[in-house]
C-alpha cells in the first residue's frame, strides 16, 4: 500500500494522515455508497409499513365521508339497497367469534403438546414430533380449506354438529340446521391452523426454563406434572401468553380456509351453526367483485380495522415473547 504523503502526485498530501488508518480514504466512497444503500433499504421496511397504513386510509375515504364513525357500529351491510348502507359489525363479530373459538380449542391442545414435547416425550421422539408440528404451520391456508370442504365438512354435518345440537342445544349456541359450512366448522379448521404457532413458541419458552428451576422442584419430591405446574409453566408464562397471542393474530387474519368454510353471508351470525363472514373473507369476496367505488372503499376501511386489530395483538405478543426469549426469562420474578 502506498503511503499518500510521499507521493508527489497527491494534491493534498497534508490531509491524508489526519483521517485515521491509511487504507480508509481509498475505500471511503464505496463504503459511504454501501451505507447509503443499506440505510435506504432498511428504512424502506419502515416505509412499507407506513405505505400499507397510508393506502388503506386513503382507500377508505369515500366510505368514511359517507358514514363517518357509524361505519364502526353499523350492523347492516347492504350493497344493493338505495342508498347502499355499510356497517362493519357483522364482520367484526364473525372475526372475533371464529378466532375466540379457535383459540379455546387450540390453546389446551397446543399447551398439552408443548408439555409433552419438552417433558413427557422420550428423547428420540421430541425432534421428529416437533418437526411434524412445525410442518403443520407450513401448509398453505388454501390446502386447509380444500381439506375442510371435502373431509371436515361432511363429518361436521353428519356427526359432530348434530351431536352438539343434541347435547348442548339448550344453550342456544347451536340453533339452526347443521350444514357443516358455518361459523363452527370455520373455527375448528382455524384452530388446527393456529396450534403449531402456539405450540412452537410455548415449547421454546418451556425448553428455556433453567435446569436448576426444575431440579429444585424435583428435589422437594415433586412429580413430573407438579414440576411442570409449579416450576415450569409460571416461569414460561409470558412466553406462552405471547405465543397464544401470535396464534390469535394469525387466526384474525386467516383468509382462504375461512372463506371456503364460513358460508360468506353478510350478516351477524345468530348461532355457531349459522353462516357468517370475517373481515378477511369479506375482503376476499368483495374487494374485486363489488358494486362500485363506495363498496370498494368500505371494504378497504374494514381492512384498515383488521389491520389495527392484528397490529395491536401482534405488538403485545412480540413484546411478551421478546422479553422472555431475549432477556432469558424473568417470568418467575413477577
Amino acid at each position: 500500500m502506498d503511503v499518500p504523503t510521499l507521493s508527489p502526485s497527491s494534491s493534498k498530501p497534508a490531509e491524508a494522515p489526519k483521517d485515521s488508518p491509511r487504507s480508509i480514504p481509498v475505500h471511503r466512497w464505496p463504503d459511504r455508497l454501501f451505507f447509503g444503500l443499506v440505510a435506504a433499504l432498511g428504512l424502506s421496511v419502515i416505509g412499507l409499513a407506513a405505505a400499507i397504513v397510508a393506502i388503506l386510509v386513503y382507500g377508505s375515504r369515500y366510505s368514511f365521508q359517507a358514514f363517518g364513525f357509524s361505519f364502526l357500529w353499523g350492523t347492516v351491510w347492504s350493497p344493493t339497497s338505495t342508498p347502499p348502507i355499510f356497517g362493519v359489525v357483522p364482520f367484526v363479530v364473525g372475526t372475533v367469534v371464529t378466532s375466540a373459538i379457535a383459540l379455546l380449542i387450540a390453546f389446551p391442545l397446543a399447551l398439552g403438546s408443548a408439555i409433552f414435547l419438552t417433558t413427557n416425550a422420550p428423547r428420540w421422539l421430541r425432534g421428529p414430533a416437533g418437526t411434524a408440528v412445525e410442518l403443520l404451520a407450513a401448509i398453505p391456508s388454501v390446502i386447509y380449506g380444500l381439506w375442510g370442504i371435502y373431509i371436515v365438512h361432511p363429518y361436521m354435518a353428519t356427526t359432530v354438529e348434530p351431536a352438539l345440537k343434541r347435547y348442548l342445544g339448550f344453550t342456544g349456541l347451536f340453533d339452526g340446521t347443521p350444514l357443516g359450512i358455518d361459523v363452527f366448522t370455520a373455527s375448528v379448521v382455524l384452530a388446527i391452523m393456529i396450534v403449531p404457532t402456539i405450540c412452537a413458541i410455548s415449547r421454546d419458552t418451556l425448553a428455556a426454563v433453567p435446569q436448576s428451576q426444575k431440579e429444585a422442584a424435583l428435589s422437594l419430591g415433586a412429580t413430573d406434572w407438579e414440576t411442570t405446574r409449579v416450576a415450569m409453566i409460571p416461569y414460561a408464562r409470558s412466553g406462552i401468553i405471547g405465543g397464544t397471542m401470535l396464534g390469535l393474530g394469525r387466526a384474525l387474519g386467516e383468509t382462504m380456509a375461512v372463506t371456503m368454510l364460513i358460508g360468506n353471508i353478510d350478516k351477524v351470525p345468530t348461532s355457531l351453526l349459522s353462516q357468517g363472514q370475517t373481515i378477511a373473507s369479506l375482503i376476499a369476496n368483495e374487494l374485486l367483485n363489488n358494486n362500485g367505488p363506495l363498496q370498494e372503499s368500505a371494504v378497504l376501511e374494514a381492512g384498515l380495522i383488521l389491520l389495527v386489530i392484528a397490529l395491536l395483538v401482534n405488538v403485545v405478543a412480540r413484546l411478551l415473547v421478546w422479553r422472555v426469549l431475549s432477556v432469558g426469562g424473568g417470568g418467575a420474578v413477577e
Partner: protein
C-alpha cells in the same frame, strides 16, 4: 397413608403425561389426514402423463372427464414467486445488514421490530394495499404478474429481514474483527465475509419465504388474478397453484376438484423438500459456527 397420597400424585402425573401425548396425536392427525387425502385423491392427477405439460381441462361432471393439467399454474407460480424473490431477497438482505451490522442507535432495533410486526400483518392486506395503490395509479395493470409479485414481495421482505438478521447474529464477532484487522473495507467485509459465512442461514430464510409465498392465495386474488392459460405476458393476469386449488375446490366439478388435489400434492411435496433442505442447512451452519 403418606404412601397412598404419593401414589395418587404419581397417578395424576402419569395420566397427565398420557393426556399430553394424546394432545400431540390430536394435533398431528390433520397432518396425516391431509397428506393421505392428497396422495389418494391427487396422486392419480399428478403422476399422470402430461399433468405438468397441459392446460386445465374444462369443467365437466361425467366419469370420463380429463383431469390432467396443472402446467400453467406451476409456470405462473414459478414466475410470480421468482419475480417476488427478485425484489424481496436483495431488499430484505440489505435491510437486515443495516439493522444488524451498523450500530445506528435505535434505528436498527426499530427496523427489526417493524419487520417482526409486519410478519403478523394478515397476508390478504398485503394484496389489498397493492390493489388499492394500483387501482388509483394504473388500473390497467391492476391484475398482472407485476402487482402479484409486489404483493408477494411485501409478504416476503419481513420474513427475509428477520431470518437474515438472525443468521448474521450467529456469525462470531471475531470474524468481523479479523476482517477489520486486515484493513478490508466495511462493505467488502460485510458482503464477502460476514454474509458468506451466514449464507446457509440466509438461504434457509429465503427458501422459507419462497415457500410461504408459493402457497399464498389471499394476496393474489386481486393482484395476479387467475387464468387457465400459459403465460400471456407479465402485464396479464396469470395462472397459479393456490388459486387453482381455491377455485377448483369451490367449483364442485369432480374433475376440477381432482385437479385441486393434484396441485395440493404438488405443493405438499415441495414444502416437504424445502423443509428437509432448510433443516439440513441450519444444522450444518450450527456445526460450522461451533454450536454458537
Amino acid at each position: 397413608m403418606t404412601f397412598d397420597r404419593y401414589a395418587r400424585r404419581k397417578l395424576l402425573s402419569h395420566s397427565i403425561a398420557v393426556l399430553t401425548g394424546l394432545c400431540v396425536l390430536a394435533v398431528l392427525y390433520p397432518l396425516a389426514s391431509i397428506v393421505y387425502e392428497a396422495f389418494l385423491q391427487g396422486g392419480g392427477v399428478l403422476f399422470q402423463a402430461g399433468s405438468l405439460t397441459s392446460v386445465q381441462p374444462p369443467p365437466c361432471s361425467t366419469l370420463s372427464c380429463k383431469t390432467v393439467g396443472i402446467g400453467p399454474a406451476v409456470q405462473g407460480t414459478l414466475i410470480v414467486v421468482g419475480l417476488a424473490a427478485g425484489i424481496s431477497v436483495p431488499v430484505g438482505v440489505l435491510a437486515a445488514i443495516f439493522a444488524s451490522e451498523y450500530r445506528a442507535r435505535g434505528l436498527g432495533r426499530a427496523i427489526s421490530f417493524t419487520a417482526d410486526v409486519l410478519t403478523g400483518v394478515p397476508s390478504i392486506l398485503m394484496g389489498a394495499f397493492i390493489y388499492g395503490y394500483f387501482v388509483l395509479y394504473d388500473p390497467q395493470i391492476a391484475l398482472s404478474f407485476y402487482t402479484g409479485a409486489l404483493a408477494l414481495s411485501a409478504l416476503m421482505i419481513p420474513i427475509v429481514v428477520r431470518t437474515t438478521e438472525e443468521a448474521l447474529r450467529v456469525v462470531p464477532n471475531s470474524v468481523r474483527e479479523a476482517a477489520m484487522a486486515l484493513g478490508i473495507s466495511k462493505w467488502k467485509a460485510t458482503l464477502r465475509i460476514v454474509l458468506v459465512a451466514s449464507l446457509p442461514g440466509v438461504a434457509t430464510g429465503v427458501l422459507l419465504a419462497v415457500m410461504r409465498a408459493a402457497g399464498e392465495a389471499a394476496p393474489l386474488l386481486f393482484t395476479l388474478g387467475y387464468s387457465t392459460l400459459w403465460l400471456q405476458g407479465l402485464d396479464h393476469p396469470g395462472a397459479n397453484l393456490p388459486l387453482l386449488i381455491f377455485l377448483g375446490a369451490l367449483s364442485g366439478y369432480p374433475n376440477l376438484v381432482k385437479l385441486a388435489w393434484g396441485a395440493t400434492l404438488f405443493l405438499l411435496i415441495l414444502i416437504l423438500i424445502v423443509n428437509v433442505i432448510s433443516r439440513f442447512a441450519i444444522h450444518r451452519m450450527r456445526v460450522r459456527m461451533g454450536g454458537a
